[in-house]
Subunit: 225 residues, 2 copies
């Protein structure tokens, strides 16, 4: 269950298929052969990325590992950037929901904990995907779409807090969520400080205190109230 | 005047010297020939990075642009990672100080504005250096050192606020500074959202409100008070 960071591993368990000329096995995945090949190829991208990083990632190695023809990969994904973009788009296609702990600070702390876990996981798939987004425009746009989708899903954390009376009605959910999560990304992705077990909770508490002090009140709400 | 983000352009104005076998000109820079060659080479790195990005950066192109022998560059910097690391180390070697506006929120807003300006400048040197830190271990460590130095210099913003009575004495300066600046980096470097003129001020106000609510009080201060 990964949050604004992607969770590309979910729902992509690998099925053996040595070559895409092989007849489909009896037990088929939903979506049939095309979907099955996509799963194999994207799993292979993740495995190659985890083992070799972006610099070791090639469409040929992915095709070989997935057991599909090179031309299948070239035709459908084009290049490494196209493969990474599809990995990120596939990660969005899940039923992930933000934590529901009963309080704003609790939800934000649990969310930050998920982000910290994803960003410190081994092999470092999530950080490798973020790093790849500095190399490929296609991957960068897919990473943007993934984050946008994750933050949009997280807005329910704020609307629940509003319903509970923890926050004023016109609270800028996105600004609050960015304030809560940005320090975790900043430490682990940019500053590259060692993981601090207190960081997820601290950043959550900071955002919750700022929210209670009106830091995310929308200007409209001021004029309307 | 760039803040936790580097300002590699400062103090590296280029002097013409077509080849390092040329006798030194009459007006010499402090530090002599070695320092002059370093300036020329690091300027060339910045110019090449700004024009071609990391992927177009080669030691040969840097040597040619700087007008020095290739062997001089190889011997002293080794590779592109070594060149980038030295650019970042040179950026630390300045007299930059954080803004002093008379209030915590004002200082943080001015600091964030400097960061936003650096991260949206054209050519995008600062973001290219951050991107390069995902490609080269040497550059990554130098970027870490630069940020560490910048955040350390910024701690005076917090100690001034403590002296003015804006903050309790035992305030975790680093956590406050990270909370204030992280949203700007998160938006512009990772989420890649279009620059929002309100972002620097919003993030500053959020951190200042959280600070006033005790978000960055150190546990020691609680037990001591």
């Amino acid at each position: 269950m990964t949050p604004p960071g992607p969770d590309p591993g979910q729902g992509t368990e690998r099925e053996p298929e040595p070559d895409d000329t092989t007849p489909p096995p009896t037990r088929r995945r939903p979506g049939g052969r095309t979907a099955r090949i996509r799963t194999q190829v994207l799993d292979a991208v993740l495995a190659e990325l985890g083992e070799h990083g972006f610099d070791g990632l090639t469409t040929d190695a992915v095709a070989a590992r997935a057991g599909v023809h090179r031309t299948t990969v070239y035709r459908r994904w084009g290049d490494v950037g196209g493969l990474l973009a599809d990995v990120l788009d596939a990660a969005s296609d899940d039923d992930w929901q933000p934590p529901d702990t009963g309080s704003l600070e609790g939800d934000l702390a649990a969310l930050n904990q998920e982000i910290q876990t994803a960003l410190t996981a081994q092999p470092p798939i999530v950080t490798a995907l973020i790093a790849a987004s500095f190399r490929s425009e296609k991957a960068a746009h897919a990473q943007q779409r993934l984050w946008e989708g994750r933050y949009a899903r997280c807005e329910i954390v704020v609307s629940r807090a509003v319903r509970r009376g923890e926050l004023p009605p016109h609270t800028d959910a996105r600004r609050l969520l960015i304030a809560a999560t940005a320090p975790v990304y900043h430490h682990l992705v940019l500053l590259r400080t060692p993981p601090d077990p207190q960081l997820p909770g601290h950043a959550a508490r900071t955002a919750a205190l700022a929210a209670a002090a009106g830091a995310f009140a929308e200007p409209r709400s001021v004029s309307r109230s």
